[in-house]
Amino acid sequence: MVTKEQIVRWLERLASVLAENKAYLTDLDSAIGDADHGTNMARGFAKVAEKLVSVADTDIGNILKATGMTLMSSVGGASGPLYGTFFMRGGAVTASREELSVEDLGEMLHAGMQGIQQRGRAIAEDKTMIDAWIPALAAYDTARIAGEDTAAALRRAVAGAEAGMKATIPLQARKGRASYLGERSIGHQDPGATSTYLMLKALLDTLESS
């Protein structure tokens, strides 16, 4: 089970995690992108943290939608509309909810990932954040069907995201700014897959610390 309070703490934690990892994400992005992913994500989630003050007392759906709208208007790069759509769609399937079961959280994550796929039109092995989301949610579903609880399923999801993130290193980019580099994009870890891993890891850490 994930409570509304945990969702709020997850987003707050994510704001600090992204601030701490700003230089790391920007370094990854300077190798194959336009060196702004760290700055963009840190700026976007700093705005989310400010916004949370006024929406934390509402419901999970509303909190996630407000997060999505804030990201769409403050991140600046492609990750703004992509993660923005993730949270908007996640919010649409959790409207008026105060807590999420292991099934509900799975539904929220899937709705969000489908939003990212629809918006960015990336498929597996394009070297994008989708390469972290797909194995993460496959691992989550397997654990959920096997009867594991939310934290255990998320632990599998985080391991899946981490493996997917590392597996972007040998790939050649087929989407976004990195695709302009052709074969020169090979050998670098994708920044978007990395921020996706950090996002899921922050959710797991929030559940495990409370």
Partner: protein, 131 residues
């Protein structure tokens, strides 16, 4: 008259393209700029695009011109937030930003309908400038 929205990562480019297109088509042109995350930060913002859509909106619809990358994704995300009736009189154009805006501005100013304004703007992509 068809309205035009200019979406660019740079606030200066968006404002500059607006200025250039207005110069070509006259003061009455309905054109709005949505550049940057804010006036100092490179990037695109769904909120800024929605504001520009409101500003350029009118009975004849709005053509949206974008630079590239996140401008496309942010424009699509903004369109998705509108209702079906609003979406029905918007076109997200594949035209090149600067040349497309000039052609669209001229076509809009002589009262051409939305589909034709977009067609003319998109055709600029194959224009041989060097003759």
């Amino acid at each position: 008259m068809v309205g035009i929205v200019i979406v660019s990562h740079s606030p200066l480019i968006a404002a500059g393209v607006k200025q250039l297109a207005s110069e070509m088509a006259g003061e009455q042109l309905r054109i709005a700029a949505a550049g940057g995350v804010d006036d100092h930060t490179i990037g695109t913002s769904v909120e800024r695009i929605l504001e520009a859509l409101r500003e350029a909106d009118g009975p004849d619809g709005v053509l949206i011109l974008v630079d590239l990358g996140s401008a496309v994704l942010s424009a699509q995300a903004a369109i998705e937030l509108l209702n079906e009736q609003q979406q029905a009189h918007l076109i997200l154009s594949n035209a090149p930003l600067v040349e497309g805006a000039i052609v669209a501005a001229v076509e809009a100013s002589i009262g051409r309908p939305l589909m034709e304004v977009n067609r003319a703007a998109e055709q600029v992509a194959t224009l041989n400038k060097l003759g």
